[in-house]
Symmetry: C2
Subunit: 170 residues, 2 copies
């Protein structure tokens, strides 16, 4: 088969490019999340951080960044905002003066319980235009792709490593 000639430099090539589609889909996802959750004053990132702190009480900021694969620098301001809203509190670690341990407040635990249905509605809406079979296929491929590309991002996901400091058996 003759190889295709080089594609002309045109915007149509961008529309079909994986990077463009991922960016677009991410924007759509955030938009849907914010719409469903507008009663709660929580962003997707803040929600993920709350969930992670709920799952791992007493985690520190660096490990939290590994658990949700968010940049450590960015996480600083996210934590600040969650603390300002009284959803989390930070306590100094007795055995390591560098570390501040993160815990949910009662407010934080409460808003987490309340927001769950809205978040699930949002997640469902993102995939709603597809047929059920297609949704499963897409999610399956995406889980695979994100996992196999894990090391390509600046902050690879380290779900297990992050548990070690909590004294769980490795």
């Amino acid at each position: 088969m003759p190889s295709k000639p080089p594609a002309p430099i045109t915007i149509d090539a961008v529309y079909a490019a994986p990077g463009y589609l991922f960016r677009r889909m991410q924007q759509i996802a955030v938009s849907i999340f914010m719409e469903e959750c507008k009663a709660f004053d929580l962003t997707p990132v803040q929600y993920a951080a709350l969930i992670a702190i709920h799952t791992h009480p007493g985690i520190d900021a660096t490990r939290l960044s590994a658990v949700i694969a968010f940049d450590r620098s960015t996480l600083g301001s996210v934590i600040e905002r969650l603390q300002a809203k009284d959803y989390i509190e930070r306590k100094p670690a007795p055995e390591d003066k560098r570390i501040k341990l993160l815990y949910l407040t009662k407010s934080g635990a409460a808003i987490l319980r309340e927001i769950i249905p809205a978040v699930e509605r949002a997640q469902a809406r993102m995939l709603e235009p597809l047929k059920p079979t297609e949704r499963k296929t897409l999610m399956g491929l995406l889980v695979q792709l994100v996992d196999l590309n894990n090391e390509a991002s600046r902050v690879p996901l380290r779900a297990e490593d992050a548990l070690e400091h909590l004294g769980k058996a490795g």
Copy 2:
């Protein structure tokens, strides 16, 4: 079939959520793009803007935002940076004093030609972990999903509308 009990509030639910996966994949995509294109000092957004201006010379900022589905406010600073790098120029429109028309400079056209191979390497790398069949399936579903969710984002893509001002037949 008995319905599943409500999922416990845990970080594992987040790992499987579409919104989380889209965010993660977008970050990975940007990271790969920047790595492949680090010789060129162009971000993915700036690249898309350049391509769009190349395809539609004399477009204005508002229509450009519709053509690449980027926020108009954000686009202002993107244009500023591209202009500072001497990749584009802005000329006032004679018939409408509000509008500034965008054109590629020779530098802009040149860097666009040079960067294409790196961009294509980046796009290929994003999907590399998947088998060829899976790549096609994923891209097909993603194109569909982005298209069907077009109106859900703040800045829906308006590829055709944006051409009208250039005098093309509708």
